[in-house]
């Protein structure tokens, strides 16, 4: 009797990283700070290079399930370099990306993803938000949420919200270019 339609609202994950507070930026842009309130997302995936302890603590208030990996400027000793997280039918691999050479190169990232035997690679470092499909897998980068991702340049502040469904991930790309812009992309599960 029920026609085939999407399941209802899926679980949400915030993908965020390269904040570098206070060294490269004093805080998130207010428009973003305003949107990111506790108890909206089930998961937080942080690509690394958070900055000070205060910021790490703030990230932990956003959900009950926060995952951190080590960026090249993260000093804490107890953060792993990589992490694997299973969410429903999706296997995610999380790594900052400064370990991968050349930086931000899809081929090298894909090789790493394949080694991890995961479906989706969440990575940062480049400071530029990007969602790409390689073979049957996906590489997603939230960019830098403060725009201060390394010494040389600033970038457009950005982060991602992922909505997890059984057969796909709905990606919401939030960028700040004068005002908050939201783009959507659908990633069907291909195994």
């Amino acid at each position: 009797m029920a026609e085939e339609y999407d399941e209802e609202f899926g679980e949400l994950g915030l993908v965020i990283g390269d904040l570098n507070i206070p060294s490269r930026a004093s805080d998130l842009p207010p428009q973003f700070k305003d949107l990111l309130v506790p108890n909206k997302v089930q998961y937080v995936f942080c690509t690394g290079n958070v900055g000070n302890r205060e910021t790490t603590d703030w990230l932990k208030t956003l959900s009950g399930n926060t995952h951190f990996v080590k960026g090249d400027f993260d000093e804490a000793k107890d953060i792993p370099e990589t992490k694997i997280i299973q969410i429903g039918s999706w296997k995610l691999a999380l790594v900052h990306g400064h370990q991968i050479v050349p930086a931000g190169d899809d081929e090298s990232l894909y090789a790493f993803l394949k080694e991890m035997e995961a479906d989706v690679l969440i990575t940062g470092y480049t400071g530029v938000a990007k969602v790409s499909a390689v073979e049957k897998k996906y590489i997603i980068n939230p960019g830098s949420v403060t725009g201060g991702f390394n010494g040389q340049q600033t970038s457009i502040p950005s982060f991602l919200i992922l909505e997890f469904k059984k057969e796909k991930i709905q990606v919401f790309i939030y960028t700040l270019d004068g005002e908050v812009k939201i783009d959507k992309q659908e990633l069907p599960l291909q195994k």
Binding site: D6, F9, F172, I182
Partner: protein
Amino acid sequence: MQNQDFDIESLSQNLVGISNENQQLIKDVQNILRNEIVDEDGLIKLCQQGFTNQTSRLRGIVWRLLLGYFPLNRKYWTQVIIKNKDNYNNIKIENIKKAPPQNKNDHPLSRNTDSDWNNHFQDQQLWSKIQKDVIRTRVKELGKEDYREMLNRILFLCCKLNKMDYVQGMNEFAALILYMCMSDPNEKLQNESDAFYCFMILMTNLKNNFQLQKEKVRAFQDLLKKVDWKLHDHLVNQKMDFSILYVKWFMILFAQDFHIDDSLRIWDCLFCQKNNREEFLYCLAISFLIQLREELIVGDFGQILLILQNLEKQDINLSEVIQRAHLLQKEQKKC
């Protein structure tokens, strides 16, 4: 099948073990229900002492009539049940199983009032808030997963549709009504939809119920003084705060802590009061106090509180309390 008359003949089936007096009551009620239009006053007169285990089979029909869920004309009852089952299904679909966001510009962090995502979060919060109370409401009678979900749904939908906040106490009310429906010996009355609509009607009737109104506490105290000044003075001397009683008795309407059969019986009486519910409530409360007079009048502050905060644990003859309440009400009318 649709227009089949609601069956009331089964009410007098299987009267084994029921006292003669109660058998007569059942038959008298049945006679009233046999008429095309129910004589509401006549029905109230018969039922106003409330139902016991022997006569509880009458409760389902009587509550539905007194709440106005059933019209007085019996030929519409079956229709009402069927139509409301459909309506309730639609309400559930529209408000619980929501389709995914349709609006192109909608996104998970949106705080717009017309954002599907935003409404989804508000709904989730409301559902969770209610769930925290539901899991400890009438655990003995409604502990099953199915019943818990029904109770949660009924409370959620009522609050959502009426755009009202969930307040503690609503869970006890909904629980009584749901239990009344689902434990009815007549299968045709075991409907979550009936429980939902009856609860909605009740909430509409109890507009400011959950606000503590100081004048009412005063009125209660004054009435006690009039009826039993010795007891009143003793309680006042022991620094008894009457507003404590007000919450449990006048706001929660004896729906909590009492054995469920006792709560249901008290509600039988309250529903029979139609427009005099408040006045009867005062008389009932005072009747409880008088019933416990012997222990209360020699008790100090602590002992008094212990007794009154645990009313349901006292050895009380509820029939006596109810009878006295009716007498008090009659006496007050004469004044």
